[in-house]
Amino acid sequence: MIGDIDLRDNRFRAVGVFALFAVLPLLIPPVFSRSYLLGVFIDMMILALFAMSWNLLFGYTGMLSFGHAGLYGVGAYAVGFTLNGTWIFPQVASLPVAFGVSLALSIVAAAVIGLFCVQRGNIYFAMLTLAFNMVLYEVFIQFDDITSGTSGLLFDIPDVAVLGLELNPADAFMYYYFTLAVLTLSVLVMWRIVNSPYGRLLTAIRENPERANFIGLNVKHYQWSAFVISGMFAGLAGALVSVRNLVVTPGLMFWAMSAEPLLATLIGGPYAFFGPVLGAVFFISLEEFLVGIVGNWHIALGIILIPVVLYLPNGIIGTISVRNVRSVVGRVVPSVGPDSVDDTEENR
């Protein structure tokens, strides 16, 4: 039922959305040339990617991960260790190499962690991901002789020669386009994934894992592969954030960080492909706006979030789109009680 919402049968609209996403962002750096503002846009794109990776699990496969910050952190630390010369010779340590290492490591980490986590469904999945997240977090704090502990891993990026100019990829102007390119590519890949037969199977598993199992799908196998794909993109987002800050701290892996993609997605709308992107833009804008006013902006986030959950439980897109009304009723208000919340006998 919720599968209706994606834009597949409305390809013209999809093309329009892509055009908007393709052209408008390209114009931002020349218009907003202050590097502070560019940084804000970069943050939006990073959170958008992080939230989309999370929503691949939540919105499409029906798995609530509370440990995505762990994989985000793995992606970030991989870049840090590559670029500060710990792992490979500094001569070959360039941005693309670092991102390659980061992708590979996120996939491996997600494959291992996912293998354990998908063994149990529902809340247990959430708790297991939280547990693995906290283990990673504590390991990176405890083994501070390697990771520099809470003070963080500092690294630098070598300049690259472009058209005879020595430029630094971490410079806001260049990094904006780099992040945009990574995000666009990732969005295209994710779009392809969720609109493939494989994506349909994931949606079927979300709707009813038990039935999917009876049809003959190996549910755990698909949940695992979805976890690995999602973890890979979460790691990529972490790689992006590491270069944005040029320092990697265990804070990136703290459980509260796992809440950010969750909040962005639920604000934007988990059952729409671009919901997490909209949510990320909203989330970062809100942060920028509120930090200037109240300093401690998290209280304002909480105050805004409460009515959102109570009155707009399907997020901004889910609430605006009339086509989603059925899904609002069907998803959010099942009959009564915890029994009705999970209909997945086999996951108990």
Binding site: A126, G302, I306, V332, D342
Partner: protein, 296 residues
């Protein structure tokens, strides 16, 4: 290497910690078992309990009285009032929502309560003294050990016994268990289930408040203290079995003991032990140590 005095002290410290976790985790598991809501904000009530105690005790010091004993009675009630309001206004509308939305709402409550505390009371650490009546040490295998820690363990044990008696031996306990197992049938039989829900939520938050009072002279009082204990309580609740009273007790004491011993003997691994234990138990026995298979 294993010195009997060191190991006893480590184990006792672990038990103290375990009792504090028990008092919060048991409310969390009770609220989950009966209401079906995972209350992320439960640790914030613990934090409120500690702050209320701090202000009561420092306020009474001004007039030359020791407020701790009054706090022990009054603060859980104060926290319970806040809990009752929160349940009525915010939690009640979301009983029928999916778990993830409930988590999100209670997470929003954490943001509001904890950051409210940061704004109103500041980030600085605060502490109060142990009440004079309990402020002495007793020699334990030659090492002086603070008596207050024994008091804390005793109060936790007393609460555990009283709760067990209430749930297993009284009519109130039967009503609560009936509402948790078959809320529709309980409702049809004339039990005012919404009232039971509110009462359970209030009771659970009062216990968190009590844990806050007991923690006030023992730990540093700060806005983030709720976030620390809620993570531990989650681990305990899942470890013991969601909704299981006995599981919360066993899980909390186990985690407390292991933490206490690991803190002395393998400090590097101490922070990850609870999570590894939880993951291991979940994989081998998903219902938790004492949970029933169909508890969720």
């Amino acid at each position: 290497m294993v010195d009997p005095s060191t190991i006893t002290t480590a184990a006792l410290n672990g038990l103290v910690e375990g009792m504090l976790i028990f008092l919060t985790a048991v409310g969390l598991t009770l609220i989950f078992g009966v209401l079906g809501v995972i209350n992320f904000a439960h640790g914030s009530f613990y934090m409120l309990g500690a702050y209320f105690t701090f202000f009561l005790v420092t306020g009474m010091n001004g007039v030359g009285l020791n407020g701790f004993w009054i706090a022990l009675l009054v603060v859980p009630l104060l926290v319970a009032v806040v809990g009752g309001l929160v349940e009525r206004v915010f939690i009640r509308p979301i009983y029928d929502y999916a778990h993830e939305l409930q988590l999100l709402l209670t997470f929003a409550l954490v943001l509001v309560i904890d950051n409210g505390a940061r704004i109103v009371w500041g980030e600085q650490f605060r502490s109060i003294n142990v009440p004079p009546l309990l402020d002495f040490t007793i020699a334990l295998l030659g090492t002086p050990y603070p008596f207050y820690n024994f008091f804390l363990i005793a109060v936790g044990a007393l609460v555990a016994v009283l709760m067990w008696l209430m749930f297993e031996r009284t009519r109130v306990g039967k009503i609560v268990r009936a509402s948790s197992e078959q809320r529709d049938i309980a409702n049809a039989l004339g039990i005012n289930v919404p009232l039971v829900f509110t009462a359970v939520f209030i009771f659970g938050t009062a216990l968190a408040g009590l844990a806050g009072v007991l923690a006030a002279p023992y730990k540093t009082i700060r806005p983030a203290m709720g976030e620390t204990i809620i993570i531990n309580s989650f681990v305990v609740v899942v470890l013991g079995g969601l909704g299981s009273f006995g599981g919360a007790l066993v899980g909390a004491l186990l985690i407390g003991l292991l933490n206490g011993l690991a803190f002395v003997y393998v400090p590097t691994f101490q922070p990850i032990i609870p999570f590894v234990l939880m993951a291991g138990v979940l994989l081998v026995r998903p219902a938790g140590l004492l949970g029933e298979a169909d508890a969720v």
